[in-house]
């Protein structure tokens, strides 16, 4: 940053002010000192110099950026960059000794069935969770915006109590993922959990089971909780987007004889597509990161067996439980690549021409 300042200093100094043709010697030194001195200690002579204004500005910029950049650089940027390097080493994480092994970690991944299982589960969540969550979100939002009785000749009206629904639907979103994980862990409990009890009381006792202990069902439970958490968020988001669509557009569609479902797919959905598209990417990233729920809710954090193991949990276990930090960061790099590819694909294929209204 110091270089920048000096360069700018020179720029402003080129048209020498008239009254100050002969700058006293040492003024340049004082000006440089003013960069670090607080304004109070700066000599008045320097303060009256024309160049002082830009020095004052750059001093401010430097001071204001220094702390945030320092914190950000040390604790976010540098670990992030280091991760790429560590992924090429055989570092255990326990000691400071490690050797450079090139791409060994990555080739080891190819034969690691646990790793592939985790990727399979993560990608499954990545694909299914946004479909279910955004589908439900759109459905509820449309119901809230357009499912009401037709009052006062209005073509479209919201459901009575729409505000109440939005408040309640949003509950899971304000709670901690840790709380959600513990609550649903208890919900699925075979003895004290209410899910089996409900099934029995409605005569579906045969469906009652030990949900999280069944390898075929456990991942579905994780998927369900993931969707449960986010539906309310998308209801609120999509309601806001739908609310900003002018009412006349919907009215015109209705006058043309379109039913509600036609209106939804032909009119509403295209108009809010931008929001849906962004939400899709966001939900996908959330699904890839399903760490806390799996870590808290499932048996042995990813079990039974490997049936709910997702990539972030696998990474965490490798790094902190078995001491394979180098290998774990390599898994992290792969996860980053998956995230990037997902985002890029969504950006390329989900985009539509923006509709102005």
């Amino acid at each position: 940053m110091a270089n920048d300042v000096r360069a700018a200093d020179r720029d402003t100094a080129v048209p020498t002010p008239r009254g100050r043709a002969e700058t006293p010697p040492g003024r340049g030194l004082l000006l440089a000192a003013a960069l670090v001195l607080p304004p109070r200690l700066t000599p008045a002579g320097v303060k009256n110099d024309r160049r002082y204004r830009s020095i004052d500005k750059y001093r401010f910029v430097c001071w204001f950026l220094s702390v945030p950049l320092l914190v950000y650089g040390i604790f976010v940027i540098s670990p992030f960059l280091q991760a790429f390097y560590y992924s090429l080493t055989d570092w255990s994480g326990y000691s400071s000794r490690f050797g450079f092994v090139g791409l060994d970690n990555y080739s080891r991944m190819l034969d690691d069935s646990d790793f592939w299982a985790s990727i399979r589960h993560s990608v499954l969540l990545l694909v299914v969770a946004p479909v279910v969550t955004l589908g439900l979100g759109l459905f509820f939002a449309f119901m809230l915006q357009a499912g009401g009785r037709r009052r006062r000749g209005e073509a479209f009206s919201g459901v009575r109590g729409a505000k109440f629904y939005k408040i309640v639907y949003f509950f899971p979103q304000v709670l901690s993922v840790a709380i959600v994980g513990v609550v649903w862990g208890a919900m699925f409990d075979p003895i004290t959990g209410p899910i089996n009890e409900v099934l029995r009381s409605v005569g579906l006792g045969s469906l009652a089971r030990n949900w999280l202990a069944n390898p075929d069902i456990a991942l579905l439970c994780v998927l369900f909780v993931l969707c449960w958490m986010f539906v309310g968020f998308y209801v609120v988001l999509f309601s806001a987007a739908m609310g900003s669509v002018p009412g006349e557009i919907h009215e015109a569609a209705l006058l043309d004889g379109a039913g509600r479902s036609t209106t939804f797919f032909r009119v509403t959905l295209p108009l809010v597509w931008d929001t849906v598209h962004t939400g899709w990417i966001y939900m996908g990233i959330q699904a890839l990161d399903a760490f806390a729920i799996v870590h808290i809710m499932t048996i042995n954090q990813g079990g039974p067996g490997n049936s709910t193991l997702v990539t972030p949990v696998y990474l965490y276990k490798k790094a902190f439980d078995v001491g394979q930090a180098g290998y774990a960061t390599a898994v992290g790099v792969v996860l980053l690549v998956v995230t990037m590819v997902f985002a890029a694909v969504m950006m390329l294929f989900g985009r539509r021409e923006r509709i102005e209204y």
Partner: protein, 307 residues
Amino acid sequence: MSATKPAPVEEAATAPGRPVGGAGEGPRRKHGKGGTLNVFSGAFLVLWVVMAAGPLVWVMVNSLRESGEITGNPFGWPSALSLENFANAWSEANIGTYTLNSLIVLAGSLPGTMLLGSMAAYVIARYTFPGNRVVYLLFAGGMMFPIILAVVPLFFVMDNFSLLDTRHGLIIAYIAYSLPFTTFFMTSFFRTLPGSVAEAATIDGASHSRIFFQVMLPMAKPGLISIGIFNFLGQWNQYFLPLALNSTDEDKALLTQGLAELSVNQGYQGDWGALFAGLTIAMLPILVVYMVFQRQVQEGLTAGAVK
């Protein structure tokens, strides 16, 4: 309430719309087939209310029951209104200590995030200097990558600074990982503010920092509230960073860690009452605050996620 529930709901969702569309009902007919549609949609809306709030209500009701009552009988009202579970959770299961730890960390990290984030954002948004764009992209880029990739090296960076298992270490980590989004959000907010007020202050002789603290920050209040809510919930609910950076000393565990721990222990001890009480202690204040400020919270979070 099974795991496969969302699918049938969604399937049925399109069904009620069909008769209306197929019949080509006139929009002006007042209570035509809309009636059946309303019954269906109303039912689904109510069903999801039960789905969303049911588990939370169930936890709260059970927190007032004795552990013995809960086992084998998930539903039921408390036989006697006893607050014993809460006392147990608060002192014996250490929920009180965990809550205090969470509050201490938040008391440092939230103001720190807001201050550092708006400082950086203000400079980026309103000053031209070489490298402005680079700094902006540096912060904005941080929103893209998963924390989990950085966590292993971060652990050792923190270790080198002797910041592991300390509250101030967690505060710094929270600030650092909240900075990208806070800066990004506040930059676009500061850009929208009119420059004339700041110019007037300059002419009156106010210094740069004085303009920031006394003119621009007060003007940015709506943005600060949105991002403040976002960061408050995000940091209060943080599970991953404390788990990785603060896991050896149980006395320093945060609320989210404590609850996860309690949920494991309860399996051995059968103290369901304490678990439910702990959960209630953790979620009730948040839910109450949310209901009071629900409009701001909803706007803050949705503005925070998609912008």
